[in-house]
């Protein structure tokens, strides 16, 4: 029954609705098929493994396995840059994450994200105004015109990319993000060349910017990363580069999908869209439920075991590749009542949408704010929005899952 289920999950035809497959998978909480990865799909088991110090995120602990279709890097791994903290274990992970956190969040920068609220609101307003000015109300692609440009602009502002360079930055970000979305029809060599080229250009650009900020720090995050002094010392240029690339890539595609999945869910549940329109405060619990219901990161394919460990009666040997299917855990009926229902009033939404444990989403506070602002503003300004295609066309990627386009029609766009 479960034979080939991984293939089915990765198969593009399952992209629009992988949840029945996850339900099937949960019948075998730890699923292993031949020489493939060990796939964990139930909430409590995933949660346990995310806090388990016998599990590594460092690919160097993996016994090279055949048949792991996702062994490729998911943040655009590269020979050019050293691994970011996403792919490191403690103590290296802790040190880099701590240093990155100093200019980003509490305790040293408790208000950084909150202080961006007004600026983010301005970007959202600007994007919707642009749609209103030039768009065809009978066909708006919310991905192209809104949820895609928004996070790149935000990360540029956060890092401190000068406005005149934002356009170039967008192009690199698009190319790198596209590399995460393998298109079976494209020539792999051609794609790799393009991706590597973009990475090099982005790296060179960032290195130049870092040099400049070292000389003249401006208080933006790149300045702080490049010059910040703390008990852990200062980051090397290579470390700043790989961290900046991580923030760009990991904080980008995920937010696009969170916003797009969010609008798709609201358009499918118009009563909730109405509610959000009349009460923008509901955006906060709504985003939380979205992270459970349609998480942008469906699974974590990069963990490995440092020793033989037993999970739900199955012994997973040392060096095995682990897939943790977060999106499946989020719909585990043993944890969430009526899990396939979208319910923003759900109590105790301790979902896995942002992971858990030491690698839990670094950008979570920013992602939550971006999504809440974006969804409440779209709900307020789009008049009578309607889905033109359901399901919409999805991206190829099974890990970072989301629509490639989200065509909607509206009766009009309300003034800001």
């Amino acid at each position: 029954m479960t034979q080939g289920i991984l293939r089915q999950i990765l198969d593009y035809s399952s992209r629009a609705n992988p949840y029945p497959l996850y339900e099937e998978l949960r019948k075998t909480p730890v699923f292993h098929d031949g020489d493939g990865p060990y796939v964990v799909s139930t909430y409590h088991e995933i949660k346990g493994l995310l806090h388990d110090p016998r599990i590594s995120s460092d690919a160097r602990n993996l016994t090279p396995t055949a048949g792991d279709p996702l062994s490729q890097a998911d943040e655009g791994g590269s020979e050019v840059l050293p691994p970011s903290f996403l792919k490191l274990d403690p103590p290296d992970h802790d040190r880099l994450r701590r240093m990155t956190n100093r200019p980003f969040g509490p305790p040293h920068s408790p208000r950084r994200v909150e202080q961006m609220r007004g600026e983010l609101g301005g970007i959202v307003t600007g994007l919707i105004d642009t749609i209103a000015a030039k768009g065809d109300p009978n066909r708006i692609d919310l991905v192209e015109e809104f949820s895609y440009p928004f996070p790149v602009t935000v990360i540029c502002r956060l890092l401190g990319v000068p406005p005149e360079d934002e356009a170039r930055f967008h192009v690199w970000a698009d190319t790198l993000a596209a590399s995460l979305d393998p298109d079976p029809d494209a020539d792999p060599a051609e794609r790799a060349k393009k991706t590597e080229g973009a990475r090099m250009e982005l790296g060179m650009y960032l290195a130049g910017l870092i040099e400049e900020r070292r000389k003249n720090p401006t208080g933006d995050m790149l300045s702080e990363l490049a010059t910040g002094q703390g008990p852990d010392g200062t980051m090397s240029t290579m470390e700043v580069l790989s961290t900046a690339a991580l923030l760009l890539i990991a904080g980008h595609e995920t937010t696009v999908n969170l916003i797009t999945n969010g609008m798709l869910t609201l358009l499918r549940n118009p009563e909730h869209l109405d509610r959000l329109r009349s009460d923008p405060d509901v955006a906060v619990p709504m985003v939380e439920e979205l992270l459970r219901f349609e998480p942008p990161v469906q699974l974590l394919p990069q963990r490995s075991t440092l020793t033989d460990i037993e999970v739900a009666g199955v012994t997973i040997p040392k060096g095995s590749s682990l897939w943790l299917i977060l999106a499946s855990g989020n719909r585990d009926p043993k944890r969430f009542e009526d899990p396939d229902r979208f319910d923003p009033d759900r109590p105790d939404v301790q979902h896995l949408g942002l992971g858990s444990g030491i690698h839990s989403c670094f950008g979570a506070p920013l992602a939550r704010l971006e999504a809440a602002l974006a969804l409440s503003e779209l709900a307020r300004r789009l008049e009578n929005p309607r889905l033109l295609e359901d399901p919409p066309p999805y991206r190829q990627n099974a890990v970072l899952r989301g629509p490639r386009h989200l065509p909607v029609a509206v009766d009009g766009i309300r003034a800001a």
């Binding site: 346990g48 590594s56 460990i309 030491i358």
Partner: protein, 464 residues
């Protein structure tokens, strides 16, 4: 009328009295309403305030980052209770089912929940304790008064006792740039709760942050000036220390005196109850209508050899209150045991300290992740070949895992490699707890070691 009918009647029109209007009392009241209790609910509290949260009092409040009256506990739901605040309960008539109030009033109940908690242990000499500038820290009023004293910029603060609260106070003083001396009877801070190996790390933290830490020493007396202000403390090594503010942080005493003579099994170690939170009388017989929760309760825990644990833990107060409330409204077959795994946290000198299980039961410790030198590590405590507790310094995200290890009585020392195991973590060390026969102040957990089957349970009504 059969039992179910009585229960239905209780839910519909019964009278439930909760003595103790703090965290456990409030959460119990909310749970009672949640479970459909529609009768009369009375909340009795000796302080004049609605329930408030205590952890911020020794942290944010002392730093002046929050005000003491800004820590009201968030409500989960409306509890529609009759509040009797500012008047303590003074007695209990178990036969007549009445709580006596200090103002002479009496409140009748069908079910009683006792959640009177603990209070700060006072300085033993009342005249010295009454000097201006001598503080304890337990209540909102205590915190506000101490914060005012610290804000005035005293020349030196003396903290007596280096348990969790004392250490947090010292940390807040240093963060405010105040000179602070900590006097501790044991050889290091936190020794009672975490043992000497971790205590040594805590001692380094104190000293590196500029605390004048003096261990193996006792304060023998406090001295005031002619206006009744504290000016100095005399120490057991014969020295005298000048200090304008003295904070007495010698642990807690359980608020059970009001039950003296009631026939309930209440004493200095708390109120004994079964795992379902039903109180024992002095004969060791479980009551049907009196329940206990929070810091004042003392209940057997299956996971720790059925020892009676009394825990001054925030999470325990919540979980035990919920269990007690559930059981109060349940038939015997539907009652639940309180099986919470002890857990607590502290924040001092910029380090987040958390623990699970019962470290003080451990005889050995092994550092399974990180390193003590970096102040970022996981320490696992072993007891008779099994994992019994764990402590983390700035590594709390791993705690879920170690909690599971404790629940599953995993072998000690842990045989597996971890993502951050250093050479120093290869070998278990003696955890170095003080000899339990020597009295000490301030361990967060006290174990008394009677099994529920042990009929020789002694009852000690006297209070120390």
């Amino acid at each position: 009328m059969n039992g179910d009918g009585a229960l239905e009647q209780l839910k519909r029109e019964g009278r439930i009295v909760v003595v103790g209007a703090s965290l456990a009392g409030l959460r119990a009241a909310e749970t009672l309403r949640e479970k459909g209790f529609a009768g009369e609910l009375t909340m009795i509290g000796d302080e004049p305030y609605e329930p408030y949260d205590r952890p911020p009092l020794s942290k944010q409040v002392l730093l002046g980052m929050a005000t003491a009256d800004g820590t009201a506990l968030p409500r989960r739901r409306d509890i529609d209770a009759k509040w009797r605040l500012g008047v303590p309960a003074s007695g209990l008539d178990m036969a007549a089912r009445r709580v006596r109030m200090a103002d002479g009033d009496e409140v009748e109940y069908d079910r009683l929940l006792i959640a009177t908690g603990v209070r700060a242990r006072a300085w033993p000499n009342p005249d010295e304790a009454a000097l201006d500038g001598v503080f304890v820290l337990r209540t909102r009023g205590d915190a506000a008064a101490l914060e005012r004293a610290l804000a005035a910029g005293p020349g030196r603060v003396l903290v007596i006792g280096a348990g969790f609260t004392g250490s947090e106070i010292a940390s807040a003083c240093r963060e405010r740039g105040l000179a602070v001396t900590v006097a501790e009877r044991a050889d290091a801070p936190l020794v009672g709760a975490l043992g000497g190996v971790i205590g040594a790390v805590a001692a380094e933290m104190h000293r590196e942050n500029g605390v004048d830490l003096r261990t193996g020493i006792m304060v023998t007396s406090l001295e005031g000036d002619s206006s009744g202000r504290v000016r100095a403390a005399h120490l057991s090594d014969g020295t005298t220390l000048e200090a304008e503010v003295v904070v007495v942080s010698l642990g807690a005493q359980r608020n059970t005196e009001w039950l003296t003579g009631s026939g309930l099994g209440a004493g200095p170690r708390g109120i004994a109850c079964d795992a379902g939170c039903r109180a024992f009388d002095i004969w060791g017989i479980v009551t049907d209508d009196i329940y206990v929760a929070g810091d004042v309760a003392r209940s057997p825990h299956a996971l720790f050899g059925y020892q009676f644990l009394s825990l001054e833990h925030w999470g325990n107060a919540v979980a035990q209150a919920e269990t007690a409330a559930h059981n109060m409204l349940s038939r015997s077959a539907d009652r639940r045991p309180h099986l919470w795994v002890p857990a607590f946290w502290s924040s001092q000198f910029g380090v987040n300290i958390k623990s699970v299980g019962v470290p003080s039961m451990g005889t050995e410790i092994v550092i399974t992740q990180g390193s003590r030198a970096e102040r970022r590590f996981v320490g696992v405590y072993g007891y008779q070949g099994r994992v019994i507790g764990a402590v983390t310094f700035d590594q709390c995200r791993w705690l879920d895992f170690y909690e599971q290890q404790i629940e599953r009585t995993a072998p000690f020392p842990p045989p597996y490699p971890t993502v951050d195991r250093r050479p120093e973590g290869e070998r278990p060390l003696d955890a170095d707890f003080p000899d339990p026969s020597v009295p000490t102040h301030g361990p967060t957990i006290t174990l008394s070691g009677y099994s529920p089957a042990d009929r020789r349970m002694t009852f000690t009504p006297a209070h120390n």
